[in-house]
Symmetry: C2
Subunit: 464 residues, 2 copies
């Protein structure tokens, strides 16, 4: 049907110039079909029987669903291999209530720990990243910051011992909703307690304790990792020598919360999500795919897509479709399909919620600011109160700090990085470097822009 | 369960200061739980049996679904009443192929048509608006531009005869996917042909013909309405006296296409959507609600939400939930629930796709630019080619033009309004007024900002 409908207007258009001249108002010459409609009435062939449009994307999802119903797919458990594991039976009390009766942290390292154990760079990850930041003997696949870590690179493994962990709540080896609950051996699912960025950092410092690492040379992170590095520096100021926070925020703002809310909603309305108990059922493939499509839109920038995809259609001669049609749409479709089976849906829920809840003013004490540090995200009512609480929550961060952001970032807009830098200065920190990057790649700049991000980080880590 | 888990960390926190002092590293004083964990190990009460989180939002959607299955709801057909109807058996040939064998246009008018019939302002609507721009005797409910139209107002009904139509493809009285196909009397559903902005305008000018209106004083529109007003001016240059285009674009850019793609995808994956044939079945309530949530995020701005909602939670003392929790989330939930039963899902698909396909360079002739004016949205490959084609497609627009945009608009970013103005100037138009609004309301500025938008429009319409 589609083939038959390709460019069906062409034949009519060729004979319409004379008709246009005869019409009462002479329109733009390109609108010949419109102008000639009156004369076409009697010429029009009878309409063919109407057929509905085709929806290949819906067909494919149905097919995929049927395949998933046949049995389990290779999924996120197998995505990452070759990491080390720290395991403890010590409980992890969650900041907002509940606890884990013991937990595991998956981690990987690069470089060599020196005798003084003071050359450690702790690298924190974004929402969906594993501990695999860089390839190594046990896992030769490129890591998510492959070109930033290594001999002579941004984080120089000739100098530093780099540790990267999978966060608590994740699905790449650390304890998360897909892990067995010791009480019955079944996955926690949505029995997992609500998680905060502060809980992730606490777990990471338990790992450092176990490795005998008292003090970090630096805490480094981007995106949610930049929230963790901020939190680590404030929570353990005498254990963090330098701080790097890239494309992050001191508190999530409502626009980013809205974007993550939309992702959670599309996931949770997939019936296969089953209130989180899908581990022995069918994977909520459709919900995860849709969630990732929304996420992907927030990770890049309009100007980048304008240059990369413009308005080019996958098949410019095809009759338009509501399924992926423009290149930008096929890109979103492909990216989300590629991702959706490699990450645990419940991890997405818990970790994205932890990002929403993040607010450094929660580290302020009652005396410092009129905010209840114990409340989840109540926060003060006035703007002055907000700034005061934020400053109080970040007042222990007095080490050298590098704050980086990209002007094209929609998810963590540049004013949020400026807010970090300004707040630190207001709190009396005189060693804050703040760079705005005129980069095209939006939030993902930290993954892509080795030239700008890479050298700023190197300079900050290595300067005396 | 939730009540019992409220602020469960409080008890532990009160006794933790001494423990913190004894811990090897003294962290920030607010992180007393973290520091005292080691000492808490033996003190911790045994964990209660784990319970899963509650998901009231999923429960509500299930409930809503069951209610919808009981029978049809009052829906979009009844939302708007009291409009006039233009009906013709003349076919509407669609620009990209296919046709309607006759069509209806719902419209409303305000003010009085003068004897010369030359005081007409044609007002074009955005995606989901009806012809009800302003209240009147037959429909006293406030319209979508209530405060902009009336005696002495922005569009002065003492001077002008204002016409507003529901677009072809809509569901408020004009022919759209929910209308009966004359061939069998059943709704077109997805048998409706793919629609373009140019087709909408063609249908509107058929209405003008029927009213004996040869020439408009002005063509005025915002958002998709600003695409229509641009198209009308280019297609019928000798029938349009002045042009106003607000928060619009000369061509949709990939970021806005991506945002609408995500909306279509969540709708189309609702099984009740049923490839568009839901009119005698169950309404795809969930898909529509999710689509509207995404849309709402694109209509406003981060800074507005920062001021309006900040990080305030609906119930700051409640244990966090993945359902609506922050005020911004309850706002999105409420807005989308309110909207989703009042608009036809297939109209959303067809009209949002028409916006994606919109590109004024398609009005360029072959001689003017290296672009196939007949191709759906192929477009030229180079940047110079893009500009040349766009200029050629807009070359007939030589009447006075007002271009307005809001700097906080994410969906139709300000560079797109600047592109309209620059292109018109490049095409030789010396009567282009271009204003950038420092407004907080993002894309919705045109609905809200009567002070700035209202007076700019009035000045343009009334100046000699």
């Amino acid at each position: 049907m589609l083939a038959a409908r390709r460019l069906p207007g062409l034949a009519a258009r060729t004979s319409s110039v004379a008709a246009a001249a005869a019409s009462p108002a002479v329109p733009h010459p390109a609108i010949r079909i419109a102008a000639s409609r009156a004369t076409l009435v009697t010429q029009s062939p009878p309409s063919p029987p109407r057929q509905a449009l085709a929806f290949p994307c819906v067909d494919r999802l149905d097919e995929r669903q049927r395949a998933l119903e046949q049995g389990p797919e290779p999924m996120y458990e197998k995505v990452v291999q070759g990491y080390e594991v720290f395991e403890t039976s010590e409980p992890l009390e969650m900041r907002l209530g509940g606890r884990l009766d013991g937990f595991r942290i998956a981690y990987e390292t690069w470089g060599t720990l020196n005798a003084a154990r003071d050359n450690v760079v702790l690298l924190h990850t974004g929402l969906s990243a594993s501990s695999h930041a860089r390839s190594h003997a046990k896992n030769p696949h490129p890591g998510w910051w492959e070109s930033f870590i290594g001999p002579g690179l941004s984080i120089d493994t000739n100098k530093f011992f780099v540790i990267c962990t999978n966060v608590i709540g994740g699905c790449y080896g650390s304890t998360g909703p897909s892990s067995p609950d010791p009480s019955d051996g079944k996955p926690y699912a949505t029995r997992f307690p609500i998680l905060t960025i502060f809980d992730m950092v606490n777990a990471q410092f338990k790992l450092l304790d176990s490795l005998g690492i008292r003090r970090l040379h630096a805490s480094v992170g981007s995106s949610m990792g930049g929230m963790q590095s901020l939190a680590a520096a404030a929570m353990f100021p005498d254990r963090v020598g330098k701080l790097v926070t890239i494309s992050a925020a001191a508190r999530s703002h409502p626009y980013s919360i809205a974007m993550r809310f939309a992702q959670r909603q599309v996931l949770m309305t997939d019936p296969n999500w089953n209130r989180g108990f899908y581990y022995s059922g069918v994977f909520p493939h459709v919900g995860m795919k849709l969630a990732r499509q929304i996420a992907t839109i927030t990770y890049r920038s309009g100007p980048e897509w304008e240059r990369r995809f413009g308005r080019i259609r996958a098949d410019p001669s095809a009759y338009p479709t509501f399924c992926a049609d423009f290149l930008i749409e096929t890109y979103l479709d492909h990216q989300s399909e590629k991702f959706c089976l490699t990450y645990d849906p419940n991890s997405l829920l818990y970790i994205s919620k932890a990002m929403d809840m993040f607010d450094m003013s929660q580290l302020a004490t009652r005396q410092d600011a009129p905010v209840d540090a114990a409340s989840s995200a109540g926060g003060p009512a006035t703007w002055e109160g907000t700034l005061k609480a934020l400053t109080a929550g970040m007042s222990t961060i007095q080490m050298p700090v590098l704050v980086l952001g990209a002007q094209s970032d929609i998810l963590f807009p540049i004013w949020q990085q400026k807010e970090i830098a300004d707040t630190l200065k207001r709190a009396g920190n005189s060693k804050v470097s703040y760079y705005e990057l005129d980069a095209l790649y939006g939030h993902d700049t930290f993954l892509v822009d080795q030239v700008n991000v890479g050298s700023a980080v190197k300079g900050h880590l290595e300067i005396a």
